[in-house]
């Protein structure tokens, strides 16, 4: 049994949780400030909605899902045949 362990653990918790909260609270304000600045200095940029996480790679949705499904199968079939 280590005499000091409990006090060390408590110290660590106080310092640790204190710092985690301080750091993340600072980050909250820094983020709010950053967003405000960004939006002020470039208001014209078309915003991407939060819902589509990989908006970059999503193509236009003009291909209907059935076609996409058919192509998906064809690609899988092609791969399974031609893969070495």
């Amino acid at each position: 049994m280590n005499e000091q362990l409990m006090s060390q653990a408590v110290d660590l918790m106080v310092a640790g949780m204190g710092f985690v909260f301080v750091f993340l609270i600072i980050l909250v304000f820094a983020t709010l400030l950053m967003s405000k600045l960004v939006l002020r200095f470039s208001p014209e940029e078309p915003a991407t909605p939060t819902r589509t996480p990989r908006a970059k790679s999503s193509a236009s949705p003009s291909v209907d899902p059935d076609t996409a499904e058919a192509i998906k199968k064809a690609i899988a079939q092609y791969r399974s045949r031609h893969k070495k």
Binding site: V10, M13, A30, K56
Partner: protein, 436 residues
């Protein structure tokens, strides 16, 4: 005859049999039960490899030399390791034990010297020992995984609602509460821990694999096997561990709270955010720089839109390669004399406490915030603050749907979920700063 006396069957020890069974169990959990297979398949397999008798795959050259214990080699090692042994003296188990302990306690130079001597005498480092040294000993492995995770993380939901960072902070009570728990076990005389070991065990509460491996490789490398296994196993069990706690701490009405739709977030905000985090690290916590630096780097590559090649590689080829080696390296620490120990049971027990405390604190923080904010906050998203991305956010969503079938919390829970990653990395930095 050499074939028989050198065979596994002739040499196997009980501990190795048990550890091989543990390895098979991990493979079973990973393959049949779907427990974080990307890590637990390599860890389990590495654990089996590490326990093959006589093969010494997880041992350094010097450890292999000590295992085979030829008198003239031991005599050569005695000088480097400062063990009292003369050439010709009988090689008793006690002598071997003395060499092993001297090696474990030796500093960097003495270890180098001993390995040099062993290599002069024809012994080599085991394959898994080499993997461990390169991938974990250098800390590069967990950092590259973290870079890849950064490249896969979308901070959009967090940016739309930065307050949720506080939920990621509250859930870190799981980490420090577990440190207290370990101290309590020590105080009760049940198990013995140092503060370094207690801190490394606590990090399981961060619910984040690479952070756990990174911290335990710095603070308590001998526990890395048990800590990593515990962390990944409980991350897989999040859908079972969290819901009862979440339901116990909330009323049905609270669980049914609908949150407002998140505002759209511009691409520019997403690009600048990792730099904001980085600057905060620069100013306030340099010791979190390796972890959060690589994480932010990965995220910047993802969002900046001009280095798609690098971002793709970081998310695919590179992270996969590192995962294979990282898993095998962690497995190399699943050797009997390090794993079959009361401490491991303690670690497994404390690990589940860590997840529970983190979940509870996240939920309670969310309830508190709900009292003080205009727009409503569903307390269920608080539990996602433990990280375990994206499992914990899905759990929040599922429990929310049970209370109100129109209540889609997934996106709202992603905010605290990624905040939890940052929170654990900050906690890791504090621990390394104060103890490392």
């Amino acid at each position: 005859m050499t074939l028989w006396t050198g065979s596994g069957l002739f040499n196997i020890e009980l501990g190795q049999v048990v550890m091989i069974a543990v390895g098979l169990l991990l493979l079973f959990l990973a393959i049949r039960k779907g427990f974080e297979p990307l890590l637990l398949v390599p860890i389990g397999f590495g654990g089996i490899l590490a326990n093959i008798p006589e093969a010494g795959l997880a041992l350094s050259a010097a450890e292999n030399a000590i295992h085979f214990a030829k008198p003239q080699v031991l005599a050569a090692l005695a000088g480097a390791l400062d063990v009292a042994y003369q050439a010709g003296q009988a090689v008793t188990p006690e002598v071997k034990e003395a060499f092993k302990m001297a090696y474990n306690d030796a500093g960097y130079s003495a270890v180098s010297a001993a390995n040099s001597i062993a290599q002069d005498n024809g012994y080599g480092n085991g394959m898994l020992y080499n993997f461990y040294t390169v991938v974990i000993g250098s800390t590069i492995g967990p950092l590259l995984i973290f870079m890849g995770v950064g490249a896969m993380t979308d901070f959009g939901p967090l940016l739309a609602n930065p307050k949720t960072l506080l939920l990621g902070a509250a859930a870190q009570f799981g980490i420090f509460g577990t440190v207290i728990g370990a101290a309590l076990l020590d105080w009760l005389g049940i198990l013995e821990f140092t503060i370094l070991e207690a801190a490394a065990i606590g990090i399981i509460g961060g619910a984040d694999g690479p952070t756990s491996i990174y911290v335990s490789s710095v603070l308590a490398p001998h526990l890395i096997g048990a800590i990593a296994v515990s962390a990944y196993a409980y991350m897989a069990l999040v859908p079972m561990i969290q819901p009862p706690i979440m339901k116990a701490l909330t009323s049905k009405k609270e669980r049914a709270i609908k949150m407002e739709q998140l505002r759209p977030v511009s691409k520019k905000e997403k690009i600048v955010f990792p730099l904001v985090v980085l600057i905060a690290v620069v100013l306030f916590l340099p010791d979190a720089a390796p972890l959060l630096g690589m994480f932010c780097f990965g995220n910047l590559m993802r969002e900046c839109g001009v280095v798609e090649r690098l971002s793709d590689t970081a998310q695919n080829a590179l992270i996969n390669i590192v995962t294979i080696f990282l898993g095998l390296s962690v497995g190399s620490k699943l050797v009997a004399d390090k794993f079959l120990d009361g401490q491991t049971l303690g670690i497994l027990g404390l690990g589940i406490v860590a997840f529970g405390v983190g979940t509870a604190c996240g939920v309670l923080m969310a309830k508190l915030m709900n009292k003080f904010t205009k727009e409503p906050i569903n307390p269920l998203i608080g539990s996602a603050g433990v990280s375990a991305v994206p499992m914990a956010a899905r759990v929040s969503n599922k429990v929310g749907l049970e209370a109100n079938p129109q209540n889609f919390l997934l996106m709202h829970a992603m905010g605290p979920n990624v905040a939890g990653v940052i929170g654990s990395a900050v906690a890791a930095g504090v621990m390394i700063k104060l103890l490392g």
